[in-house]
Symmetry: C2
Subunit: 112 residues, 2 copies
DNA sequence: ACTTACAGTAAGTCATGACTTACGAAAGAA
DNA sequence: TTCTTTCGTAAGTCATGACTTACTGTAAGT
């Protein structure tokens, strides 16, 4: 599943910051490196991870490369969260109704 | 922000698997350890991380501890994803309209 | 009181991955 | 062509964190 790569890609703080930098206008690697206290190759490596996760796309512009956020990149993770969250809520609801039934049973037995 | 802890908590595969095990009914630590090829203390450590991230709650039951998924645990991460995703989509829409305007300008200049 | 079952913490090991510097490649400018 | 800019990759270092075993604590059963 691709949401795994998205999770590990966004887990690292500086890599997540780089991704957030690309929310707006596209940026080239040197620009990104200037925004963070790490070397340019480090930024390239982070961009590679983000690209493999589908979060980011690259576009050649002369010798430079313009990186931008992929609009569909976060979709798999969102879908995953929705299903898991739904499951948790369902189980929670089941437990609540279960406890209510137990309560009713206890009251019924008490009124015999 | 608390979504950071959620991200790092869910990034690890076995820890994510443990969290998913708790989607349904609550489980005690030994049960969880039996489902995975790691020791019981390792599971305890993972549960600690999940608990600090707000993804999981514990409830004492004799000497055992019942762990369950917190229904609100994923909410901060979902909110974060929504805002970022919205920003990306907005920027993408801006770019598209920008390109359309450029196209119109070019056509206009061409028709002079 | 003693034993059993269940769990958290401490301490140490080891692999992963986030960095660095050095190097090579490709495209535009002089 | 040569120089410059921009970038990716290779290789090596170092810290973090995911494990292990050993120990301690606590509640329940006999």
């Amino acid at each position: 599943m691709t949401y795994e790569r998205i999770l590990t890609a966004l887990a690292d703080p500086t890599r997540r910051a780089i991704f957030e930098d690309l929310r707006g206008a596209p940026l080239q690697v040197t620009r990104l490196a200037n925004r963070h206290p790490i070397s340019r190759p480090a930024v390239s490596q982070h961009l590679k991870v983000l690209e493999l996760a589908g979060l980011v796309m690259a576009q050649a512009e002369g010798t430079a490369r313009l990186y931008r956020a992929d609009p569909k990149g976060l979709a798999p993770l969102r879908a995953y969260l929705d299903t898991v969250w739904g499951d948790v809520l369902d189980a929670f609801a089941d437990e609540v109704t279960q406890q209510m039934e137990d309560q009713n049973t206890r009251n019924r037995d008490q009124n015999r």
